[in-house]
């Protein structure tokens, strides 16, 4: 899991509002409001960066959290979003189909 590559789905809408990402899936119209940590993970989910690197390089650096706790929480979060089709997980790097589709652009 830690070496999985995660990518944002192209079927969702998103907006960053006051440091928290709002996401709505076009598949089932479910609305998600991510906290700042989850927001950073979602923003970094480019399909080319392993989850472990996202947690170590971004989350632990920016939020001063224990690495083991951060990894556990990140895996739980990724699993949940993946179960709703918001994120996809892969054993290999995958490119987003549209590189201009960056939620922080």
């Amino acid at each position: 899991m830690r070496n999985s590559y995660i990518a944002r789905s192209q079927k969702v809408a998103w907006r960053l509002l006051d440091g928290e990402m709002i996401i709505m899936s076009a598949l089932d119209s479910m609305l998600f409001n991510l906290n700042p940590v989850a927001t950073r993970i979602w923003q970094a989910a480019d399909g080319r960066t392993p989850l472990s690197e996202i947690v170590r390089g971004l989350i632990c650096e920016e939020f001063d959290v224990d690495p083991d706790v951060a990894h556990r929480d990140a895996e739980e979060f990724v699993n949940e979003l993946a179960s709703h089709g918001i994120l996809t997980m892969s054993d290999r790097p995958v490119g987003l189909s549209d590189d201009s589709n960056k939620p922080w652009a």
């Binding site: 809408a13 907006r15 509002l17 709002i22 709505m24 076009a26 119209s29 609305l31 409001n33 589709n101």
Partner: protein, 372 residues
């Protein structure tokens, strides 16, 4: 509190326009008899202007984007506009009559991640629907399009606007929606045209028909609860806003004019002359709309219905005063509860036994509107 409610409150606190309704054209391939628009192209925004506007809306924090018209798909670049808007992360609802949607278009909408498509259906009987749209065969084409869209798994909502000519067909439309796997909404609101022409109001359903709608458990659920007398007005109601228009939502016309709502023709600025964010933050008209609280309404603040009334400030504006009563909403409150509204008392409306006397709005003199 649900997540949508939390989101709205957050947007309100931050002054973010969470929802924007953008008409990309007023041109249309139908000529619906109740339509509030004129369909000539008086210089609609070009593709580049719309792309620039969409970037500005993204920067302003807009999340829910309704793309509509006229008929948006008569624009040859409509799919490019939708694709660009999706690349910016908007949640998109497309309002269309769907008669230009075939399987290929449905597949494209699905691939773009359009969240939902809202389609007007006036009757399950072609002779009634087509008489309203004035396009022979339009119901068949619209229903075929809904099948294409549903076949792609897209969420479709059938909007059933009720008028005198189709009032008795709503059950049929609801059954049609169920058969197609579409959601169903019903709306008895007919508004004046944006140019001030009030002739569409002659199509409004009769008062007794509004009353019967409010007592249909298929539409309102618990009839006793829905029709119960309004609760006492408290401080929260006094300090409350009438609706999201101008607070977390606005409307933009194909010509770049910004209004508080599609049903509120108060020009607040034009995105061809200044940035959207400048209009949103600094428009004196929007400031005025935002300043209004329940307690500030000269007639409605004394009304028992203040906390439950659906008073539309846009309809009130079209009657001459955005702080005044909206007579259509007065009528709804009365038909729902049987309790006269302050607006009706002020106008001297006395309900007759058959309630026909309440359909006063048809006799109101037209008020001049500010030019859009």
């Amino acid at each position: 509190m649900g997540l949508i409610e939390q989101l709205n409150r957050k947007a309100l606190r931050l002054g973010v326009p969470l929802s924007v309704h953008l008409d990309v054209t007023y041109r249309c391939n139908e000529r619906c008899e109740h339509c509030y628009l004129e369909h000539d192209d008086l210089g609609e925004m070009a593709d580049a202007e719309i792309r620039s506007l969409l970037r500005q809306l993204e920067q302003a924090g807009v999340f829910f984007l309704t793309i509509s018209g006229g008929e948006p798909l008569v624009r040859r670049d409509c799919f490019e506009i939708l694709e660009f808007a999706r690349s910016l992360g908007f949640n998109i609802k497309l309002k269309t009559n769907a008669i230009l949607i075939k399987e290929q278009e449905a597949r494209k909408l699905r691939s773009l991640g359009i969240e939902q498509v809202q389609i007007s259906v006036y009757s399950d009987r072609p002779e009634v629907h087509d008489a309203i749209t004035k396009v022979p065969g339009s119901l068949l084409r619209t229903v075929a399009a809904i099948r294409f869209l549903r076949g792609q798994g897209l969420k479709v909502t059938i909007a059933n606007v009720l008028m005198k000519s189709n009032f008795h067909d709503s059950a049929g439309v609801r059954a049609l929606a169920a058969g197609l796997g579409a959601q169903f909404t019903l709306d008895p609101t007919i508004t004046p045209m944006l140019n001030g022409d009030r002739s569409p109001l002659r199509l409004r359903i009769a008062t007794r028909e509004v009353r019967s709608l409010f007592r249909d458990p298929n539409l309102v659920g618990d009839v006793d609860a829905f029709c119960a007398p309004p609760p006492p007005v408290d401080n929260e109601i006094d300090e409350g806003f009438p609706c999201s228009a101008g607070h977390t939502a606005c409307y933009i016309s194909p010509y770049g004019d910004v209004y508080p709502c599609v049903q509120f023709p108060l020009p607040c600025g034009n995105v061809r002359k200044e940035t959207f964010l400048n209009i949103w933050k600094n428009s004196s008209q929007l400031s005025e709309v935002r300043s209004i609280r329940g307690k500030d309404l000269p007639t409605c603040s004394s009304c028992a219905h203040l906390g439950t009334c659906t008073r539309c400030p846009g309809l009130a504006f079209m009657e001459g005063n955005m702080r005044g009563p909206s007579s259509a909403d007065c009528e709804k409150s009365f038909q729902r509860t049987g309790i006269l509204t302050a607006g009706m008392v002020a106008r001297g409306v006395v309900p007759s036994a058959d309630a026909h006397g309440l359909v006063q709005i048809d006799r109101f003199p037209p008020h001049p509107l500010r030019p859009a």
